[in-house]
Amino acid sequence: MKIDIRHIAKLSKLSIPEDQIERFEKEMQSIIQLVENLPEIEGKATAVDTENTMELRADEVVASASREDMLMNAPQVAAGCIVMPKVVE
């Protein structure tokens, strides 16, 4: 598989500077080589461990974090809201 770093970076919401494209391409190519030789295999994969199924908790209303706690790590806050750049010009 040939990897197009510019395309994958765009999908990943990463910008890779032009002078690093070649290095990333080389590194990614060696990683791709490691993962691409999968055997032909047929069947249906189940996403979960059928013998150890998940146990959901009861859907109950309980006290959770306060607004202050949740905003504590926001980069920019105003009037109890998170400030972000303009989306529509």
Partner: protein, 483 residues
């Protein structure tokens, strides 16, 4: 009493129970030890000394009043920096979360608090737990106490180092593909990746959610068991956890069947490692275990399946770092798209970027059937092979890692070679099985520690620890680095 810091957790507990020492005395000794040695081994991203002393004093008071105390009462420990401890930073050793303060406790932390343990700090790690050397940390880069010019292994690098350098008796790590077992092997300590679903993931920053599992690291089996017992069990905040009770462990392997899979002793494994692991198997044989040759043929595809699934899940999990609600935010951006790009490109290191790109690639249109779907099918095959193997044996023994600790920078520029070093540990995360790294001597070429891995059936940590304990007794205990 000097050198309190160097005692095992079990000895600390005995002295505390007999009221021969106080938790404040032990905690002070541990803090002094960290202050004296951490500039050389760099195990921590942040310290919690003030709170630790306050908590130790509170526990001493409880003890004086005769109140009921938790199982780890007054014993200091460290927690990996991807596990939330309310009010302390959870950085994941990344610029992205460099200033992130945990707004709540992980369930593991709640359980440690309920056990009256004393958390003295947050240990460094590979950035977002991506790495097996410790080198990808963007904050403290931990060093191997056996030779500080060498890597300690990762991703739980700081937790391994703080234990190996006798700063604390035990520490919590997390393991997605070997991140507890590999650094344990590289630094000559014991480390357990429990069965998927025994320890809650709630409040632990995810790498690959279907593989992630937290677990204990210690200098001996008894201490490891003490810590594991305190943190395991059902948590309603993590739907995959089970009503699990640790059944304890014995010290005899008489009549136990140990499987030895030939695929784990191939050309990729260094001869010095093989020699030590075979010697450990021989020791267990002398203790009465029966050794059986087994085969796990899908192992050759495990690395591919692992990195496809892990990176796919990581790319999805790390999508949340957009610079809007928390974490690093790129500056001088003109619009929201630009903000995403700048934040992620400046906030993540190269290793994280590579894995996000690999994950995005294998999930992208036209590739997901060929890669992700096939990897999931292989995962089933690998798990089934283990189930079948366990019909003929009780535990399986392999090397923990194919090599011993290398020098810093020796493998930079070759990420694929570093990925390949994970081959012995990743299959357990793929199959959800418990595994433990146990020290078994030193590499004769560089004097660095070697570890073997004991793999058990699902939820049979008891078997795994029994083998480890029997070996520990047979060799008269594990070597501790005078540091």
């Amino acid at each position: 009493m000097d050198k309190l810091y160097s005692l095992s957790a079990k000895s600390m507990k005995e002295l505390l129970d007999k009221k021969e020492v106080s938790s404040v005395e032990i905690t002070k000794s541990v803090i002094e030890r960290i202050e004296k040695t951490d500039k050389d081994v760099c195990a921590y991203n942040s310290y919690n000394f003030e709170n630790a002393l306050k908590n130790a004093a509170a526990i001493d008071e409880k003890r004086a009043k005769g109140e009921t105390l938790g199982a780890l009462a007054g014993i200091p420990l460290a927690v990996k920096d991807n596990i939330h401890v309310k009010g302390l930073k959870t950085t994941c050793s990344s610029r992205m979360l460099e200033n992130f303060v945990a707004p709540f406790n992980a369930t593991v932390t709640e359980k440690l608090n309920a056990s009256d343990a004393i958390i003295v700090g947050k240990t460094t790690m590979d950035e977002f737990a991506m790495g097996s050397s410790g080198e990808s940390s963007k904050l403290a880069v931990a060093k191997n106490p056996w030779d500080t010019s060498r890597i300690p292994g990762g991703s739980s690098s700081g937790s391994a180092v703080t234990v190996a350098a006798s700063q604390v008796p035990f520490a919590m790590g997390t393991d997605t593909g070997g991140s507890i077992r590999m650094p344990a092997a590289y630094t000559g300590i014991v480390g357990l990746k429990p069965t998927y679903g025994t320890v809650s993931r709630y409040g632990i920053i995810p790498l690959a959610s279907s593989f992630d599992q937290a677990g204990p690291m210690a200098r001996n089996v008894d201490d490891l068991a003490m810590l594991f017992n305190a943190v395991c069990g059902r948590d309603k905040m993590d739907a995959v956890t089970k009503n699990y009770t640790f059944e304890g462990y014995g010290d005899s392997v008489k009549g136990m069947k140990i499987g030895v899979p030939k695929e784990y002793y191939g050309e990729g494994v260094q001869p010095a490692v093989k020699e030590r692991v075979y010697a450990a198997i021989e020791t267990l044989k002398c203790q009465g275990a029966e050794i059986i040759e087994i085969s796990l043929p899908s192992t050759e595809y495990a690395l591919a399946a692992y990195y496809i699934i892990q990176c796919a899940e990581a790319a999805s999990n790390l999508g949340r770092y957009d610079g809007l609600r928390y974490g690093f935010r790129g500056s001088n951006t003109s619009n929201v798209e630009d903000l995403y790009l700048t934040t992620r490109s400046e906030g993540f290191g190269d290793e994280v970027k590579r894995r996000i790109m690999l994950g995005t690639c294998v999930l992208s249109s036209g590739y997901s059937d060929a890669y992700y779907k096939r990897a999931k099918l292989l995962q089933q095959n690998i798990a089934k092979e283990f189930t079948d193997a366990f019909k003929t044996c009780d535990v399986i023994i392999t090397p923990s890692i194919a090599l011993t600790a290398w020098k810093f920078g020796e493998k930079s520029g070759n990420p694929a070679e570093v990925y390949a070093a994970d081959i012995c540990t990743i299959t357990l995360n793929i199959a959800g099985l418990p595994g433990m790294s146990v020290p078994c001597g030193f590499d004769s070429t560089n004097n660095m520690p070697v570890g073997f891995q004991v793999i058990g059936k699902k939820f049979r940590e008891s078997d795994v620890l029994t083998v480890a304990k029997c070996y520990e007794n047979a060799v008269g205990g594990f070597a501790v680095k005078e540091f």
